[in-house]
Subunit: 343 residues, 2 copies
DNA sequence: CTGAAAGCGCTTACAG
DNA sequence: CTGAAAGCGCTTACAG
């Protein structure tokens, strides 16, 4: 009875079955499996046929045992879980990485380091060699997990430039400063002159660089820097809302805001609406990310598109190269202004 | 040069090193590792000490090769990717499952079946035995992947009752009908009499059952069923918005809406707002899920809480039991009305 | 309770 | 180009 279902899983064919079927040795089958070098066309063909006939699939454990590779990678999230729950950017990234890895037949192990305990367990798991490398998503500086992994020599590639890890770690990022410049220039082109900004956390590159881009463009336009127009958030919707309220209180004549993330921009829209300001007539709002959040608002957000597909594809490419022995590399991808109704 | 970083990964200690250090055989070390049965206290202690001293961590590939288990499970998402990007429920579930599995030292492999090609690859991967079982998230009926896996005898547990798979597959679900009943009763208790509903897709249990709960309570209250008050959505925000517009057009006197998901309720709020209806004064809005989306709106949503933590914990528990040879089981968990400002 | 031994399914020098 | 053989690190009957 108990077997009726699970009994469906028979012992799968091994390389030995394929070898016998093809009339060759197991070594030859293995060579075909691993690129087909040093194999005669005839043998290769016989093996291919035998594989199809037997339905053979390689046993990854046996392979890993001997190669020392796991042929899997970890996707490590060290963000506070509220952000993970709230920000659709993670989903986009996760989807992109899963897809890019699938093309290489490499499974993605999801690791979420919320508590201290989880952090420890995950570091132990990774440094034990259970994954070949790690895709790291953690924006904040001084991440102890990242540093531990780097020190242990684990191949790593971060999403966004990791502050405080030196140049020894690979990363893929959008051109934050340039993106911010594009948005602020766009706002100025619209004729706005009192442009506020809600930055990201200033211990993240996105926080620092997007602010820098804002400041540069204002200076180039000959507008004086006004501290009342600058507030910081933590990328959460709530912090955007609170930030807009502070801006409104300090600079009621503000006619535009550049917000360093779409999620915060959602909060800004809420606060503006409550304050009776029309968007974009009274205040133009520009976001950053072009995440799914950007089209969930009304009006929909003008924003700076981060090329998530390319970001995830590059993260995977760089990680696999790193696993293959290449030196660390940084990849900076261009952004794009997406014009919608909020400006 | 190339070695400078990756060279940090030395050959890790094996069971052999531990055995030598502890002065016992490898078999004894293995026995300690696997529960400590048939091992003398003295030997166990020596082995434990040797493990700590050497920093030994089991090589999972070697273990799997012999046990035939992979000691990992897949988390399979067969939803259209838009839903995955938009709906924070997935994140909550993913987080919960990862956490529950981590307690068992079992990694979660994320699998996203968007395209036909991905579907095929994933089925091949799973049926090859690369994971011991699968946590399945796919609300729609007639999912071919689910059926293929079930037929192949892969241990499976679904989130929500899988329509069309018969009773042969385990699942964990919230009590949809009861939750819907609670919400509609709450609306009636508020004095509302023209209560509309935006259902989920009617080929999902959540769609069918929540509608049934709505209908039951109205009937019990002696209110006549009015088809103009019933529209269906697909759980997306946009479909909620469109649904509310249709309701408003067909039943302008509507004074409450029960919406079968928080995300759709977000859309309903947008449409209501645009139509100049105040919430909750003119129209009370009740959601379902208590997802992070419920507190991102203004006013925040009164909703039916699905116990996500328990759902994910139970999914993992049931799956591990199933992998261990137990028969399929269904677990239905109670919901709870969460009162906020939208009613 | 414990050790010696077989074997899981693969890859990879090594000879030819 | 190909086969025979060793060995990856573990678990598990089998004898004691």
């Amino acid at each position: 009875m108990t077997m009726s279902n699970t009994g469906g899983r028979r012992k799968p064919p091994t390389i030995h079955d394929v070898a016998r079927e093809a009339g060759v040795s197991r070594g030859t089958v293995s060579r075909v499996l691993n690129g087909g070098h040093y194999v005669s066309p005839a043998a290769a063909q016989a093996v291919d046929a035998a594989i199809r006939k037997t339905g053979y699939v390689v046993n990854r454990h046996a392979r890993s045992l001997i190669t020392g590779r796991s042929d899997s990678v970890g996707f490590l999230l060290t963000e506070p879980q509220e952000r993970f729950f709230e920000d659709p950017n993670f989903n986009v990234l996760l989807r992109g990485c899963t897809q890019a890895l699938a093309a290489h037949d490499i499974p993605l192990l999801l690791m979420i380091a919320g508590t201290q305990d989880e952090r420890r367990r995950i570091v132990r798991y990774i440094t034990a060699g259970h994954v070949d490398g790690v895709l790291l998503v953690s924006s904040h500086s001084g991440d102890p997990v990242a540093e531990e992994l780097r020190a242990a020599g684990v191949p790593l590639v971060a999403c966004g430039k990791p502050i405080g890890l030196g140049s020894k770690v690979s990363y893929v990022a959008a051109d934050d400063r340039d993106g911010a410049r594009d948005m602020v220039r766009h706002l100025l082109d619209l004729g706005r002159r009192r442009v506020g900004v809600v930055t990201g956390p200033l211990d993240t590159p996105g926080g620092v660089e997007r602010l820098a881009g804002y400041q540069e463009v204002l200076a180039e336009a000959g507008l004086e820097a006004d501290g009342r127009l600058v507030v910081s958030g933590d990328y959460s919707r709530a912090s955007g809302e609170a930030g807009a309220e502070r801006l409104l209180a300090r600079a009621p004549d503000m006619d535009a805001v550049f917000v360093a993330s779409d999620l915060m921009a959602q909060g800004v829209l809420t606060a503006l609406h409550r304050a009776g300001r029309r968007v974009p007539q009274d205040v133009a709002v520009g976001g950053f990310d072009d995440s799914p959040a950007a089209v969930a608002t009304s009006p929909r957000l003008t924003t700076i598109r981060q090329p998530w597909d390319r970001i995830s594809a590059e993260m995977v490419r760089v990680l696999l190269a790193r696993i293959g022995g290449e030196e660390p590399a940084a990849v900076i991808l261009p952004t794009e202004l997406v014009k919608r109704e909020s400006t």
